[in-house]
Amino acid sequence: MPAGTLYRGREGMWSWVAHRVTGVLIFFFLFVHVLDTALVRVSPEAYDDTVAIYKTPLVNLMEYGLVAAILFHALNGLRVIAVDFWSKGARYQKQMLWTVMGVWIVLMAGAFYPVLQHTLRELFGS
């Protein structure tokens, strides 16, 4: 194989892409989330009716996706800080990314039942 003439990305680039994508998604959710919370100033019914949407199976699943995006963005953000401020950060950036992914998988496995329990109970009974 010839020496790299084309930038093929690898861990550094793909973590950068994932950081961007998750960041933009989280920002759009945050915008919607402040709007739905603002309904507490309208009436308790308006707020409860809207929060009921968050309890439907599809949106509940999207909440698990939101948790996935936020956990990756948070953990990878700490890695970025380590790359910038720790003298050996750049040298260990790959190892830190695999650590991030390992912690992410563990936390996602742990969050599966708690986050989705509303839907799981509804679908499969308590």
């Binding site: 507490v40 308790p44 936020i70 969050a111």
Partner: protein, 165 residues
Amino acid sequence: MSTTETTESKTTDEPGGPADSVALYDVDHPAPVIEPPRKRTAKTPKASRGNFEMQTWLFMRLSGIVLVVLVLGHLLIQLVLDGGVSKIGFAFVAGRWASPFWQVWDLLMLWLAMLHGANGLRTVINDYAERDNTRFWLKMLLYAATVFTVLLGTLVIFTFDPNIR
């Protein structure tokens, strides 16, 4: 990897010896000076943007660390503990905002997350919107939405009334 051998004077037979690289430049044959790529010239505009970009760079890291604690704590309370999303409703919000601690938590989270997110999107817009007009208006839209959301959220936290009905 390809090696381009430009050393003219090989004075020793030992490969890789220290003598290999010494003879290229000396006092009488100095290395060419390479100009810095972004050297300031007479044409460089005087008014610079200061160190605004450095300050936002630092803000992203500092707010990021605080947000890890605030947001993950928020997710734990809202989506994980006590039945997950099932318990959330007006009464639950009223219970939490009865405490100044959670009011300050949410207010700080709102401001830091909105500013952190707005600056992130500003970077994304600057990267991908190539036409000057598009870039300008996308950022104006972003700033308007950000100011609106921050003010609305702040107003809601400060004026929340558990006995609204």
